[in-house]
Symmetry: C2
Subunit: 226 residues, 2 copies
Amino acid sequence: MGPLPRTLELFYDVLSPYSWLCFEVLCRYQKIWNVKLQLQPTLIAGIMKDSGNKPPALLPRKGQYLKSELSLLKHHFQVPIKFPKDFFSVIIDKGSLSAMRFLTAVNMETPEMLEKVSRELWMRVWSRDEDISEPQSILAAAEKAGLSAEQAQGLLGMISTAEVKKRLMEVTEVACKYGAFGLPVTVAHVDGQTHMLFGSDRMELLAYLLGEKWMGPVPPALNARL
Amino acid sequence: MGPLPRTLELFYDVLSPYSWLCFEVLCRYQKIWNVKLQLQPTLIAGIMKDSGNKPPALLPRKGQYLKSELSLLKHHFQVPIKFPKDFFSVIIDKGSLSAMRFLTAVNMETPEMLEKVSRELWMRVWSRDEDISEPQSILAAAEKAGLSAEQAQGLLGMISTAEVKKRLMEVTEVACKYGAFGLPVTVAHVDGQTHMLFGSDRMELLAYLLGEKWMGPVPPALNARL
């Protein structure tokens, strides 16, 4: 009998740049560590409401810090993050409800595309400072990820259905039950135990819990392939 | 000419368990990385007030998370952290004003003892759940760190002087000017640039900025010596 399969659930929202860092690291490591990665599109606004937490950037000094820190982390993680010019309009006003409903539909209908579509939405909002709230923005990301125009339209049509709305709400509630007060949240199921880890900076601790080797945010095997 | 000396300033308060993690990591790495480590005793209550931030544990779900996370990090970092039984009384009510004034006096009079006295205060409040607000508690930590009873008494006498009070306030203001909204804050002076890093989880990013190797919270060289 081989080693027991370990499962990692990643609860994320494309509005969260730290979710993007965590997502890329877990996508890079899933084969190296031989873990099953379950991507869980979640609504960060729902987590904030349920936990009573507030987006960190609302505190001016934290906002300044996030900006300067992300400009360092982008190099270290090799993820092309760029702060949107009008942060408050993008993150607070526009939000991610349609985008996360769309990813929920992708996850229900064509889960093998979820990684790519998620990444294209991040590329829009957190790299090229492009909208992700309008239907045509979401369609553009989906097609860039490799979905046909027809598939993308079909999925977009699903975001107003009760089924998709309910599913996104349920996943968000599951994250809250694990104790989420923000995103990303990684839930590791290892040796019959469940560990909830908050943030993109707990991947080394995750490796420790898995008994695997941490080789930094860009593991050498991947570096060689780049 | 040898390489330029790099300086790291660590702004910390013994009330902060993440400051302890950061402190131990930097103490372990200072020789490995050949950096000059300047320990800067700071008042976390002053940082919170000035930045408008609040202690994370005041949000119930964050408080629960911190507790469970620290119980994992203590093994990973090999730092014997134990959550105090009455967290609110210890952290919010009693605070660290006398302890941080005492460390300020130690830093002014006998800086070579600052590391050891800081560690003994953390051992009291964050490992053995002992008081650090009463004079006899502070004296006990100081003597355990290797100061004579006479020295410890002399330093304790200094904590009510204007000079010590002013110095702690000034260091706290410096941390705020660097953008602190919590502790620990590590300020790296590298190649004429200054980087402010928040938290104990930015040590790998720090290594990256220094062009040094990150070998986890317990570097092997040290592991061999333990």
